[in-house]
């Protein structure tokens, strides 16, 4: 099975390792991974900031690049939501394009969603001795309704004890531009999030979106360097025993 990778700009620029972990995870599971080198950004920042005219052009470009792929997978629920849900909205005055956006949207998946719902894989044959907690990234949980899928993957990691996190579904305070524009609110929010994580006594906080990872791991590195946040893809890739069990 051939999977076309969509690597969001934040992953490309700052979290290249997460991108590579996605490649590793998927190829270890037997998928053939392709990557269109002309891809850039899905345009979410423009939609969030209200520059819809700019976003429309970017969306069309994105559609052109990906629409011939059978399956597109990305390690970011937030960007997948942009393509799946926002594109059709911003292109509503151009029915042809809107239709193309909808057709494409049906084939775009967040990694855990793809593995569990489409490929039927829950056990990636990974093991980890220790406690982990799971933060429910907003756009995965509420915009895409992805809740069980990442947790199923984690539950199947041998030896890993998944502990409950207070306020797991509460936003970590990233919000893209928000973190730059309202640093004080953003900081108070990530302090709250990491505070809850500290209380769990777990070693790792697993997240599913690059935005949350930048924010939470950046905050932990500054204030609690002994603790670590990790993208679910990296966590699985790092602890895989090779091949599907």
């Amino acid at each position: 099975m051939k999977i076309s990778l969509f690597i969001p700009c934040a992953v490309d620029a700052l979290l290249g390792d997460v991108g590579m972990d996605t490649v590793y995870l998927l190829s270890s599971l037997g998928f053939e991974v392709v990557y269109h080198e002309q891809q850039t950004c899905c345009g979410q920042p423009a939609i969030s900031a209200g520059y819809l005219d700019l976003a429309r052009d970017i969306a069309k470009r994105f559609i052109e690049i990906f629409e011939n792929d059978e399956v597109i997978v990305s390690p970011s629920g937030s960007c997948v939501n942009t393509i799946k849900n926002d594109y059709a909205k911003i292109l509503q005055d151009e029915p042809d394009w809107q239709q193309r956006a909808l057709t494409l949207g049906e084939r775009v998946f967040e990694v855990s969603q793809y593995l569990v719902d489409q490929a039927g894989i829950e056990d990636v044959n990974a093991s980890f001795g220790g406690r982990i907690a799971y933060h429910k990234s907003c756009h995965l949980l509420r915009a895409l309704g992805i809740d069980e899928q990442p947790q199923k993957l984690l539950a199947k990691v041998k030896g890993a004890e998944v502990v409950a996190l207070n306020g797991a579904e509460q936003c970590c305070g990233f919000g893209g531009q928000f973190a730059i524009k309202y640093p004080l609110i953003s900081e108070a929010m990530v302090r709250q999030k990491t505070g809850n994580f500290l209380q769990t006594g777990a070693q790792r906080l697993i997240v599913s979106d690059p935005g949350c990872l930048l924010n939470i791991s950046g905050y932990l590195h500054r204030h609690h360097p002994q603790l670590k946040a990790q993208h679910i893809v990296s966590f699985l890739a790092e602890n895989m025993n090779g091949g599907v069990s």
């Binding site: 290249g16 928000f178 929010m189």
Partner: protein, 495 residues
């Protein structure tokens, strides 16, 4: 309450420094969230109940003009006088005229957001010097302290018992006590005297019933019932979207409101008021008025997309699901509608320029819309407000975003559409992020400084693009090597 959402930033700075308040409010959020979910789950079919409340609100909006006319007709038949106010100023002056006409000296109030919206208390006190007392305990405390309500049903929820006790010592001569029961007793005695002497009661309206011409009021303390039954005159103010077709619809809305808000199946008191005291009746006001306020709503109504903001039933559930509200509190919103309710209402009612930070300071996490019993799509609306602001929508008082921001976005969009330019920009940005240790940059330049003032930024050693290219190269050379090996072997074999 004068609107000042323009002061969002300084107010927010003060509020986020209150770390105890943040911790406390997060607990409040968790508790209210739990109570409400548990209470909704007890319904026979919670999903259907929500669909029903959404359908009721949509039906109201689809038939708003007719329902309002029907309500007026029936209310008038019940002996209620219905008065229409185009804006806050007109509503205030209508009520002022009523105060004068009925020779009113003392007013008691039922907690009402709409009276906050038109800033009625200040207006009447300043214009006429009448005495006004809020009848709701929390609202009374907030009124005495001269601060805005922090939460729609818990206006003083952010104050601790010492602050509350001291306020009552200072204002109604209570003997200092921190015993909640005693405090409530003191306030009850104080308020009873006011209710007994009041000439006019002013309340809001939870739902107006078109088919019967009644208004419905929900509360837990009984003060609203006092205010609507003891004084000679009762004035109810409602915004025009509060109407429901019939009692069944109206009571369902009320039920969803109380389940979502306080986690109660229904509030302790529900009053259905269908007119003043009739001849021969012993209780109730001699005169009853309903003031229907527009204040910008018909303009919102005209836009079929924005109209959904009027579906709000003011349950406040969104607030306890909003991390911005739980963190920065109610005050930065600068008006009577705190939290996501304000995020969707204030920009349309006050204009997009003045409320910029209200809809901008949002991570679009969608917590609000996931719990909203009216089915409002907050994220979609906020996206639209930002787009209206960017384009400078005159109807809702927006000037275009500053050229600097527009141009920055334009430049970024150009790069996004051009992969070569994009790679170069990414590399340049990575260069400017400065030195890294253990894969983290900790002092960022320019506007990014606000990030690194509070946290580090993970920066992988290479871009994905580079990693990928290297992987392809490695695979290519491995393939070549393998091919060469094979050739060599083949050659040997051939020998």
């Amino acid at each position: 309450m004068k609107a000042h959402p323009q002061d969002f930033i300084p107010t927010m700075q003060t509020e986020v420094a209150k770390t105890d308040q943040i911790t406390f409010m997060n607990q409040v959020g968790a508790i209210f969230g739990y109570l409400s979910s548990a209470c909704l789950a007890q319904m026979e079919d919670p999903l259907k109940a929500r669909e029903q409340s959404i359908a009721i609100r949509e039906n109201t909006l689809n038939n708003l003009p007719f329902l309002l006319e029907e309500f007026e007709r029936n209310a008038v038949q019940n002996g209620i006088e219905v008065l229409w106010a185009a804006d806050a100023a007109e509503a205030c002056s209508i009520i002022k005229d009523l105060v004068v006409k009925h020779d009113v000296h003392l007013i008691t109030k039922g907690k009402s957001m709409i009276s906050e919206e038109i800033d009625l208390n200040h207006y009447l006190q300043e214009e006429l010097g009448v005495k006004i007392f809020e009848g709701d305990l929390g609202e009374l405390i907030v009124q005495m302290r001269g601060i805005p309500p922090f939460h729609i049903v818990g206006p003083a929820i952010n104050l601790n018992v010492q602050q509350i006790a001291q306020t009552l010592v200072d204002n109604i001569g209570m003997e200092y006590t921190e015993n909640a029961g005693e405090i409530a007793g003191h306030v009850r005695n104080f308020l009873r005297q006011q209710f007994a002497g009041a000439d006019m009661g002013i309340t809001g309206v939870n739902v107006a019933i078109a088919s019967t011409g009644s208004i419905v009021l929900a509360e837990n303390e009984g003060n609203i019932r006092w205010s609507t039954s003891a004084p000679r005159v009762h004035v109810a103010i409602m915004s025009l979207e509060k109407v429901a077709a019939n009692l069944t619809d109206g009571l369902h809305i009320l039920e969803m409101q109380s389940r979502s808000c306080t986690g109660q199946g229904i509030t302790s008191y529900v009053s259905v008021l269908s007119g003043p005291r009739d001849e021969g009746e012993r209780d109730g006001p001699e005169k009853m008025y309903v003031v229907i306020l527009d204040n910008g709503r018909s303009q919102i109504y005209q836009d079929t997309f924005l109209r959904q903001a009027l579906k709000c039933i003011r349950c406040g559930r969104c607030g306890t699901a909003c991390p911005i509200y739980l963190t920065a509190g109610a005050y930065p919103y600068g008006w009577c509608y705190p939290g996501p309710m304000g995020t969707i209402l204030s920009p349309l009612l006050l204009g997009l320029d003045d409320t910029y930070h209200v809809y901008e300071a949002c991570t679009l996490c969608g917590g609000c819309e996931s719990v909203c019993p009216a089915g409002i799509k907050h994220v979609e609306l906020i996206h639209r407000y930002r787009a209206m602001k960017a384009e400078g929508d005159k109807n809702f008082k927006a000037t275009k975003n500053p050229a600097l921001e527009r141009n920055a976005f334009k430049g970024w969009a150009t790069a996004v559409k051009n992969p070569v330019l994009f790679r170069n920009s990414v590399n340049m940005i990575r260069y400017f992020l400065g030195s890294r240790q253990e894969g983290y940059a900790s002092s960022l330049p320019g506007p990014l400084k606000s990030w690194s003032d509070h946290r580090d930024l993970p920066v992988a050693e290479k871009t994905f693009h580079r990693y990928w290219a290297e992987l392809q190269n490695n695979m290519e050379s491995a393939r070549r090597e393998a091919a060469a090996q094979l050739d060599k072997k083949g050659g040997l074999d051939n020998e």
